[in-house]
């Protein structure tokens, strides 16, 4: 499924990678349309080719309406990419996402196919406060019928968005805004990252560290420090949360016997909770120590940097957690 053709690898930003994916898929398939607020700016600012303008619907501020419009369009032959911009706005469209996009295929006994992509970005450490800082992917993980990806690198965001657009099911792409302007290697041209396949960001034998989305950075930092202490940490990026690559996580855990999960979402009923539960259920006999979840605590995100910044999972939190497991 994965393919990395046209060999040339460039360093481009996560943001550029997002729009390369759009540009390529919209050029490849005329059924792909974009719907979202203020998105005509992408052709105006030269981020997407002007020739795509006819398929870019710069929408009124009507999230439930235009998400549902996307679902209806998917139901009748288009392949819409709906940009919700900031993930906290997703609640306004929750009905169309959960009651319609996720369920229509099932309720119609498979008559319907809903090839739609919803994009939502999660903002951290920018003092965006309570209405612009949520990371609600765990909520959607509880809604059967959706697929959910949390790309952490420029290559993955490109490859996963392209795969999502080609997938016949609704896929929600949760982008990490703190990564938008970070660069990384991305193969030129066709590059698809399959849904449901984790990436091992760093191999290791003593501890399995599952890091979700933007948490890779602190996870890798912590793993480097711990390596110096003689503790070999395997860092796994699930990349997609539904489907979740259980074999990758459980396989690693079988070797290491120790599990730490770093999840920037709020703690209760988080993706970290789910992964911990799976491990406690399916890999109990491998476990040598308590499972540790490192998450954002259960508070709305405050405005002031002095309040906000310490809330997110930090390298030191991981170090503390791993050291306690030894």
């Amino acid at each position: 499924m994965s393919s990395e053709q046209n060999g040339n690898v460039r360093n481009i930003s996560y943001f550029q990678a997002i729009f390369e994916a759009h540009q390529e898929e919209m050029s490849r398939d005329e059924r792909v349309v974009m719907i979202g607020e203020d998105i005509s700016l992408y052709t105006k600012a030269g981020i997407l080719d002007a020739g795509l303008e006819q398929r870019i619907f710069s929408a009124p501020i009507s999230e439930n309406g235009f998400c549902g419009m996307g679902v209806g369009a998917a139901l009748t032959g288009l392949r819409p990419v709906v940009d919700l911009t900031i993930a906290s706005f997703l609640y306004l469209a929750m009905d169309q996402i959960v009651n319609q996009a996720a369920k229509i295929r099932y309720m119609t006994g498979g008559q319907a196919t809903i090839p739609i992509v919803f994009r939502a970005s999660m903002w951290h450490e920018g003092s965006n406060a309570g209405h612009h800082s949520d990371r609600p992917y765990p909520m959607l993980m509880n809604a059967p019928g959706l697929k959910i990806v949390v790309p952490a690198t420029p290559a993955d965001v490109k490859g996963l968005i392209k795969s999502a657009i080609r997938d016949d099911d609704p896929v929600v792409v949760f982008e990490d805004n703190s990564l938008w302007f970070q660069s990384g290697p991305v193969p030129e041209g066709e590059h698809l990252t399959p849904l449901g396949v984790a990436a091992t960001r760093r191999p290791g034998d003593d501890v399995t560290l599952v890091a979700i989305g933007g948490a890779q950075k602190v996870a890798l930092e912590a793993a480097a420090v711990l390596a110096d202490e003689g503790c070999s940490v395997e860092v796994i990026d699930p990349r997609s949360l539904v489907p979740l690559d259980r074999p990758a996580i459980l396989g690693s855990l079988e070797r290491t016997g120790r599990l730490v999960i770093v999840d920037p979402a709020n703690r209760t009923c988080s993706a970290a909770s789910e992964i911990a539960a799976i491990a406690a259920e399916e890999a109990f006999h491998s476990l040598k120590a308590p499972i540790a979840r490192i998450t954002t605590p259960d508070v709305p995100i405050p405005f002031s940097p002095s309040l906000e910044d310490p809330l997110y999972p930090a390298t030191t939190d991981i170090l503390d957690a791993v050291r306690k497991l030894q």
Binding site: G72, T76, R105, A112
Partner: protein
Amino acid sequence: MPPTDTERIALLRSELAIRVFEEAVKKQFAAGLIPGSVHLSIGHEAAIAGGCAALATDDYVIGTHRSHGHPIAKGADFGPLMAELMGRVDGVCKGKGGSMHLTDHSVGVMGESGIVGGGLPLAAGAGLSAKVLGNGRVCLCFFGDGASNEGSFHESLNLAAIWQLPVIYLCENNLYGATTPARSVIAVEDIADRAASYAIPGVVVDGQDAEAVYAVVAEAVERARRGDGPSLIEAKTYRYGEHAEGLIIPVTYRDESEVEEWKLRDPVAILRARLIGDGVLREDAAEALEAELRQQVAEAVAFAKNSPLPEPEAAFDDVYSNPIAGGAR
């Protein structure tokens, strides 16, 4: 272009089909053969038949929770519909949807929504795809008076209007949302007046007169196909029965006299009398038509009863088109 005699007879046939089918549903529900709750369209036949008659086969329809009539008027087979209502494997949705989700893509009925107002944005989307794909189709979206208070009504009509999407929003205003009188929760007299918020046509029509409904919907369909955008049509109608069969808390919220008064303007009776009066249909032909439909519906009931319940394992199918590893367990 006024409808031909054949078209007028087809319109009556469509009304009658809904009536006869729904009477059978009521009976089967009472007999315990239809699980869940069931919202019947008896009384609404003119709005449904008249609206759907204005469409081509490949035009889209989006329904509501009260949507047995919509697929019927669009030409769906009775058997798979009845089997669906009974939760059988030969149901049009394989027993997964039931009464509130009767869907038949083969006749362009794309889905109903158990969520009131849930279909309105979907219809805008069907209009969007028709426009982008240039396939000349239109979408007829039914909704209730109650649904006109949902935010999705406002957002959808505005979306359809700004992009001039080929959608006809047809309100079956039966004066009540469940037990709540429309006049107590809708700030305007006519829902059609809300068209003013979107600079689109807003038309009130006698919802008991299928030909009148047909005429206004046909005009809106033409307009939509021309690329001139959506319309809002309000058909004043009435449901004869309770909000749903098998309600938990029975309560009085309308006068029996009101029900009786509306029954005096029965949509089936009106059209039937008119066609006979106009010499388009003979009394005995009308009776034969009804008998034929009763026969077909009886066969559908038999078909449904003979269809087995789905195997429990089937519950795990159809969640995804492209199933996920590990699956849904």
